[in-house]
Symmetry: C3
Subunit: 341 residues, 3 copies
């Protein structure tokens, strides 16, 4: 099985975790990547997920054993961030540099389109594409990444556009489940916390629907329950799901407890509602005590106190390994978009 | 002739576009560059322009065919920006990295000389020159780059100092005209928009005076007309110029229509005057319709609506190619200052 | 003797300046560095200082003669700055790049732990250590670097934590004295200016106590006198010290006049006290006139007018060489922590 201990896994095990891509020939070494840009979770079918995860897994080996890899030598990535997101930015920049590529950074891309100057996103993209080989964009408006991609002649990766998509986060979540649990078919996943506003859990539910016999549990305060669009989608795909208030029951059943932060900024002036929602479902030692030995706790980070710090030392606390997997997924995406399979 | 289509040109064609440097021996490979710093447009005579443009043209080939060039390997550029200018900064940083060099970035250089700490520019430069091999400075005060250069023992490039100079922009404009039109002697150029405040058009007019039989047209709202110092200079050099309100007539005559943005910030509270000036001369499909087949539209960017977006798809819209040429000019300047011809 | 003129010194001279490490075998090439992290000046005994200074001296040769060194190729440093300090950041980043390493930069690390998100420093460190090989942290809270180090599985360098420590500054100060004066035993050092608040002079006094027959003079306005803890420590170690108001007398006696900036921000609303303190001890041509030929003026920078600019051209003005030595010390620390002796 896959190690919590970071020991490298054999191809056979990878196959067990992620399955085998049926259209394997399309994904064989030297072929062009099928996607021009990474914009949303809807772009991925099960086969391409499997193939991407294999590449991400190879990246673990490269990061550990090949310091100074030159796979992306001579390539230049521009991180065009219209709002700061240091975590995401550093993850992409680390990925690029671990593969020998170079980076142009801007965290104040709004300056390009300041009120005074008023340049369109499209004009900015046409300038930046002249200076780089790939653009990683973070924007405050939903749809901005798609607009950028339709303008640019080079690949664009959406690193989060407002309430919209953040596809590399969705991929790293699924990859982490496969790495931690050893399989994606037949798993039970409890999604906990803010299920209304978190794009993370929504994308994760969407991607898990591609696997067989998955069961999802939704555990959230009433004010931030999972929305009907996702529930209807899961139902239409034959995915079993259940809404419940019993975190302990879910924790004892599930392979994965995926906790999320209640987002204070969504509550406006209703601080009372926020405080009430925030304290309701905490993952602590008591929750750990009922979880199965092979199960794990995940979290997209940052966390406040929805997971207590005494959980950190338990081997089932997977959230920092999950953050690290973001590096491997981003290394894989950059490699695939720039040089192919 | 030079391609709008990005096809590489033969040496002969380059020669036709930019002429031949008379003092070619001084500019031959391995020789030291004649300039210690790049501070203003006045530093360049026709011969050195010709030679620099040849190097810029070589850089197009390097960028396209030699990813991972090591020409500037081991060199470190510090971008010391006292005001943000993401476009200019990324262009210099891309240039350095395309040649294998490395970059130290600061966009908040004002912090060095904050009111609380009060360090002089000279002290800052003496510190930074210990950490790097070349300094690219952007400052809010005219003359700051010259002060930096007189302190530093390493090369300094002025990336814009307040209302003063921005010489790499001036060079890329002339280079673009040569690349697009195929020649610099005998051309007709219409300068449109804010001719009073734009350092771009002032430097361009100055540099074009070095070529033969150039004719300039000035088309601008009354409040932002070209100032007398440039007009007098052109007259003294025997350059023909004409002030006119008829954009259509100019467009039909010229090889280059160089449009600029009306700078709102110069109008203070007189928003009415700004709105009036701004709407007066727009380059749109109607203007394109009267332009000659070989002619081009240029703009230093960013643009608002002084060029309508439906112009972008016309092959004569040269402004994004012009932005890209900024990369080649900056690659050339960095190479010349650090390793010579 | 060591050159003010930058001429490289022989091993013999280095030995004279810094002494010989007694436990030389522990410090011989290929061995692991004794420290896991660089957190405060108290970590260093005389022997390891000697050995580190030898490496810093080697770095001078590498910087001058080996552009494109690959000593740290494949290593990635994260600069995690919770408050901006462009000077310190660029110095570390230059050090990393001069040795062929790569850098992830963030100057707005506070965003990680913003009030809204509330992530702990420990969680941030656990994420960042997944993206990099070494962390350089600057923080507004005393003790933050130590907390980071106890969390991280990779080396941490404290680049200043609030009123606490800034050990690389302390090392570069001692290294500069050795390089400039040619010895550390038997020297007389005048510490001038703000001795109460400057962590620089406090750490310097502490480290100099490790050398023999050192005499220290404290020259400061009454409101910012050296605190008793350091005086008591020096006395306990048998280091001679003297408090005096006579800068001229001290200047004529000392090998080093170490001037510091009076920190306005410490005076709150008592601007009158600040102005009075600030003007009291100025190093100018008159002070230079009484200094010995071999003596030097040092300053941690930035300076206001506590050293007049006409002092800069005197060969005894060592403060810009001192800033440059910060590069060599940081190159040495990065090399030692990442690849050992």
């Amino acid at each position: 099985l896959f190690g919590k201990n970071g020991i490298c896994c054999h191809a056979l095990e990878t196959e067990k975790a992620f399955g085998t891509a049926e259209k394997a020939i399309e994904f064989s070494k030297g072929n062009k990547f099928q996607l021009d840009d990474i914009l949303d979770a809807q772009q991925f079918d099960r086969d391409i997920l499997t193939a991407i995860f294999q590449v991400a897994h190879d990246m673990e080996g490269i990061e550990k054993n090949s310091p100074g890899s030159q796979i992306l030598k001579g390539y230049l990535m521009a991180t065009l961030f219209y709002e700061p997101s240091t975590r995401t930015r550093l993850s992409f920049e680390s990925a690029m540099k671990r593969l020998g590529g170079e980076v142009l950074t801007t965290e104040n891309a709004r300056e390009f389109s300041s009120a005074a100057k008023g340049e369109t996103l499209e004009d900015t993209i046409r300038t930046i594409e002249g200076y780089s080989d790939i653009i990683v964009i973070r924007h405050f408006e939903s749809g901005a990444a798609r607009r950028a991609a339709s303008t640019a002649g080079i690949p664009v990766i959406n690193a989060g556009d407002g309430p919209g998509q953040h596809p590399s986060q969705a991929l790293l979540d699924v990859y982490t489940i496969g790495r931690e649990i050893g399989q994606l078919d037949g798993i039970k996943v409890g999604l906990v916390g803010d299920l209304a506003n978190g794009r993370t859990v929504r994308s994760l539910a969407y991607l898990l629907s591609k696997y067989k016999n998955v069961k999802l549990y939704f555990v959230s305060p009433d004010v931030v329950r999972m929305k009907d669009d996702i529930k209807d989608y899961l139902t239409s795909k034959g995915v079993e799901w259940e809404e419940t208030a019993d975190l302990m029951e879910v924790a004892s059943e599930c392979d994965v407890v995926y906790q999320t932060r209640i987002q204070k900024e969504r509550f406006g002036e209703r601080i009372d509602l926020y405080e009430q929602a925030r304290g309701k479902y905490i993952v602590d030692k008591n929750v750990l005590a009922v979880m199965q030995k092979h199960a794990v706790v995940m979290h997209p980070l940052p966390r406040l106190d929805e997971i207590t710090v005494d959980v950190d030392s338990d081997p089932r606390a997977a959230y920092f390994r999950q953050a690290k997997n973001g590096l491997y997924i981003r290394m894989a995406l950059l490699k695939l978009l720039l040089v192919g399979w």
